[in-house]
């Protein structure tokens, strides 16, 4: 079915019985077709024309069994499989009774009706006063679309469970139709006193992947979440990550993003002593852009945030980071820092950085910095004089640049290593490196 058709049906009403939790404003948002463009500050560095100019098809049903069972899936333990955006229990390998429970969102809301008030699909929840003074709700188009089209999966971590095994979330794609939009929607709730690590791997795709993750980290709990994106050859990724952190709770977020992607991260340190560490690597090649908007809002006393970003653009590509730190009034004793470093590998590569601060409380510590640089010629010469070929030396130095921040959540993480290696393979083919 085409998205347009679906929306036409929506207008006739009675179509949404199974989605009573969806905010009415969200539906209005989709009907308005308010797809942001470069006029919207936060979308300045990402071209949305390919999204605007296409007639998108939607997949309301799960892929057929014979389609996904044909594929070979890695035999990883503790894995949740998403195929074309739908959670497929049959191929997943999550152990029973290990402290993690999976629900569909509608079931979860039936059991906990008040939970729907926490969800972010409401544009008025989502839109906040922005520093520039311009208020718009445009980014919510994607979120609203996602929550309308996806059934949503709730992953709940039981109270006081310390889950030692890393849980994998793997996105696979069988649909090769580049006209298709898919909408994975994952909600993670870490209940009081729990501890868990997730690693989300997204494989290459050709379609438009519009994902939404909403995360709730309750009192005294701790979540480590690594989100790793493989090379995207022809698809488009728009992705939102929203996280709410309670008292003494902590989020460690690790991001690896590739070209043709736009990531929108919002972390709310809602209560006293809440904490987040965010480290991200943004890689871009050819003529594509990779754009990240990351906003951390300090609301609770003595909350802490730390962000480290590394951006690399090769050929004529663009990387962008818009990192915003807000310290609200009464968030006394907050401590926030943001550092980004960009590396451009070719003359025509571009990088954009906008580390914003908005401080409304005087008893805080805030630091931010951004730097753009090139590889130090002295070091390069030193390495060459030790017999290392120039290109290898450059690659080695770029690796060092990335390694300053770690993505791994355990010691032998093949995925992040392979993905970064893949990027290096690509840039090695690039003959004009550093010229």
């Amino acid at each position: 079915m085409y998205l347009k058709e679906y929306i036409e049906k929506l207008k006739t009403g009675n179509f949404l019985d199974e989605k009573k939790w969806l905010d009415q404003n969200a539906i209005l948002e989709i009907l308005s077709e308010n797809i942001p463009d470069s006029k919207t500050e936060e979308w300045k560095n990402f071209r949305t024309n390919p999204i605007k100019g296409n007639s998108w098809k939607i997949l309301l049903e799960k892929p057929a069994k014979d389609v996904y069972l044909k594929k070979n899936y890695s035999k990883l333990p503790d894995t949740l499989f998403f195929i074309d955006g739908h959670y497929i229990q049959e191929v997943s390998s999550l152990k029973k009774n290990n402290g993690i429970n999976i629900f569909s969102l509608s079931d979860y809301i039936c059991k906990n009706p008040e939970f729907k008030n926490n969800l972010f699909n409401n544009p008025s929840n989502y839109a906040e006063n922005r520093l520039s003074g311009i208020q718009d709700k445009k980014p919510t188009y994607f979120i609203s679309l996602n929550s309308l089209l996806s059934s949503g999966i709730v992953i709940e971590v039981e109270k006081n469970k310390n889950i030692k095994e890393k849980i994998n979330i793997i996105h696979n794609f069988t649909n090769m139709d580049s006209q298709v939009v898919i909408n994975p929607y994952i909600i993670i709730i870490c209940k009081e006193g729990s501890q868990v690590s997730f690693q989300e791997i997204s494989h290459n795709f050709d379609l438009w992947n519009n994902t939404l993750k909403e995360v709730f980290i309750r009192k005294d709990s701790k979540l480590t979440f690594a989100s790793l994106q493989e090379r995207i050859s022809t698809g488009i990724k728009t992705s939102a990550f929203n996280c709410h952190i309670d008292e003494n709770a902590e989020l460690n977020l690790k991001i690896l993003n590739r070209e043709r992607s736009k990531e929108d991260i919002r972390v709310f340190l809602n209560k006293e002593n809440s904490k987040t560490n965010i480290s991200g690597i943004v890689l871009s090649n050819n003529k594509d852009e990779s754009d990240v908007f990351c906003k951390v809002t300090h609301k609770g006393k003595d909350s802490k945030s730390d962000q480290k970003w590394r951006l690399i653009s090769a050929k004529t590509s663009k990387t962008a980071i818009n990192g915003k730190i807000c310290v609200n009034k009464n968030a006394k004793g907050s401590d926030a820092s943001f550092y980004s470093k960009s590396l451009l590998l070719n003359r025509k590569a571009t990088s954009f950085s906008k580390p914003e601060l908005e401080i409304l409380e005087d008893d805080v510590k805030c630091r931010h910095g951004a730097s753009f640089g090139e590889i130090d010629n002295n070091i390069l010469f030193f390495m060459q004089s030790r017999g290392i070929k120039k290109k290898d030396a450059i690659i080695l130095l770029i690796r060092a640049f990335i390694n300053e921040i770690g993505l791994d959540i355990d010691d032998n993480n093949e995925f992040s290593k392979n993905m970064i290696d893949d990027f290096f393979k690509q840039i090695k083919e690039n003959n004009n490196l550093y010229e």
Binding site: L131, S132, G133, I134, K329, S342, L343, L344, L345, N346, R347, K348, A349, T350, S351, F352, S353, K354, P355, E356, L357, E358, I359, L360, E361, D362, D363, V364, K365, C366, R367, H368, G369, A370, S371, F372, G373, E374, Y434
Partner: protein, 490 residues
């Protein structure tokens, strides 16, 4: 010009439908902005046809904007009714003027006394009835000094005069450079200014001349009502140097709510321009009533190789400040600098910063911004560093620090950094801090009062910028900071 003549002009330029009024002492256009008013201003100033055309063209562009003021800044203010403003000489009638200093906001008087301003000047600054003549006598010294300077400067071929004089005597220079740095259509306010600018300063430094003194509009009293839509143009020819000071440390009580000046600097090969500002327009009272809206466009072009432009500003006044002195680094090896201290106390808001546009090879820029917010003040640093593909080996260093005093103020930092070639080195650093209880206690234990300690710490915070000001200006700026901070502590 006599009253009769003015009346004649009015008849000539307008079909008289607005009923132009002629006052006994001064002539002015009616409120509002239209083609006739633009023509009136130009005619009053005896301008040549090309400048009138230039103004009319600007007015045309401005009209097309549909009165949409820019709204991207982090500022909240009432909409300005552009048809409710006098665009040419509109003094208050004597009845409306305060009769004596007794009628003036006592806070303002206290400020004058603290800054050591003589009584006669105080009366003038405060706009007291009949004070004009006396005040001119009081500043007679500086006027004559200015004339002496002029003689000395002209010996070296330096032109330093009012903008109107420059139009008359050096039209080729004005024609060549007017609007070359800030295009008419650049933004809403530069557009407005281009249509209705009143007067301002013009400076030309001939090749290889180092201007022997700091040029300055720093006379406590400028000609009344020229401040509103000022237009300044400074050209430093090859190998020359000039340092220009603008401003006034005394808070001028002004009836004009809106100020929209344009400053253009042009530095040719090997030339250097240093432009320092101390801005202390009336900030309004503690509750945010009154005060100046300051919407200024300041920009310089390093046109030639090895040229340099340096902006230093101390911004403590105005209710609303919207100001981004910028440098376009076009020539190879050219340098741009921006040093800023901005303070917002009480209900003041400032959205200020700079743009460094790197176009030439080996260009470098340096930005040091110190923002202080106290009481309910809101302060935004907004900056752009843009490195173009051909600006190989461009270097930028940006440091912007904020200091908050009190619990109701805010500091915002919005640096845009756009790099488009791989051989450049751009670094941005920022911190936000407060005056800690420990620092205050330590100072007080050494016998320094809380208020003095605050001023001391603020001065320390700003030192990196203040040291770039010419000596006597720096001393005044320090005093000004102390004064502007009063009431912020405790």
């Amino acid at each position: 010009m006599t009253t009769k003549e003015t009346a004649k002009i009015v008849e000539e330029v307008a079909d008289y439908k607005y009923g132009f009024t002629t006052d006994i002492e001064q002539e002015f256009a009616p409120k509002g902005l239209n083609v006739d008013v633009v023509k009136f201003i130009s005619k009053k100033k005896n301008e040549p046809q090309w400048l009138l055309d230039w103004r009319l063209n600007a007015f045309d562009m401005w009209k097309k904007r549909g009165h949409e003021m820019p709204n991207w800044a982090n500022l909240k203010y009432d909409n300005i009714d552009f048809q409710n403003i006098h665009y040419f000489a509109a003094p208050k009638s004597d009845e409306e003027k305060p009769k004596s200093l007794d009628d003036i906001d006592p806070e303002l008087l206290r400020a004058y006394n603290k800054l050591g301003i003589p009584l006669k000047e105080q009366e003038f600054l405060a706009g007291i009835k009949n004070s004009h003549k006396v005040a001119v006598d009081a500043v007679f010294d500086s006027v004559s000094v200015a004339t002496t300077f002029k003689d000395e400067l002209s010996k070296q071929g330096i032109i330093f005069c009012s903008f109107s004089e420059a139009v008359e005597n050096h039209p080729e220079l004005v024609k060549k450079y007017l609007g070359s740095v800030v295009p008419t259509n650049d933004n809403f306010f530069s557009n407005l200014n281009s249509a209705v600018f009143s007067d301002g300063s013009f400076v030309y430094i001939p090749p290889n001349v180092k201007c022997p003194m700091e040029l300055s509009t720093y006379f406590r009293i400028n000609a009344a009502n020229t401040g509103q839509f000022e237009r300044t143009l400074i050209i430093a020819d090859k190998g020359s140097y000039v340092s220009y000071l603008e401003g006034c440390t005394a808070p001028m009580r002004d009836e004009n709510q809106l100020h929209a000046a344009v400053v253009e600097l042009v530095a040719l090969e090997d030339a250097e321009i240093k432009y320092s500002t101390v801005q202390n327009w009336y900030p309004g009272d503690k509750n945010g009533n009154g005060g100046i809206y300051n919407f200024v466009t300041k920009r310089g072009t390093c046109l030639g190789d090895n040229s340099k432009i340096s902006w230093t500003q101390v911004e403590t006044g105005s209710a609303v400040t919207w100001k981004y002195p910028s440098v376009i680094l076009k020539g190879n090896n050219s340098k741009g600098e921006f040093y800023s201290v901005a303070l917002s106390n009480n209900m003041q808001q400032a959205d200020t910063g700079t743009k460094m546009i790197h176009l030439g090879k080996n260009t470098s820029s340096r930005i040091v911004s110190k923002g202080i917010s106290a009481s309910k003040g809101q302060q935004t640093y907004r900056g752009l560093v843009s490195v173009f593909p051909n600006a190989i080996n461009a270097k930028n260093f940006t440091q912007c620090d904020s200091l908050l005093i009190g619990n109701d103020c805010g500091a915002h930092t919005v640096p845009y950094i756009n790099v488009r070639n791989e051989l450049s080195d751009v670094a941005h650093e920022a911190t936000t801090s407060k005056i800690s209880e420990e620092q205050l206690y330590y100072c007080r234990q050494r016998g320094i009062s809380e208020e003095d300690a605050t001023a001391l710490i603020v001065n320390g915070f700003c030192r990196e910028v203040l040291k770039n000001l010419p000596m006597e200006f720096a001393v005044e700026a320090k005093k000004l900071l102390e004064l502007s901070l009063e009431g912020a502590v405790g």
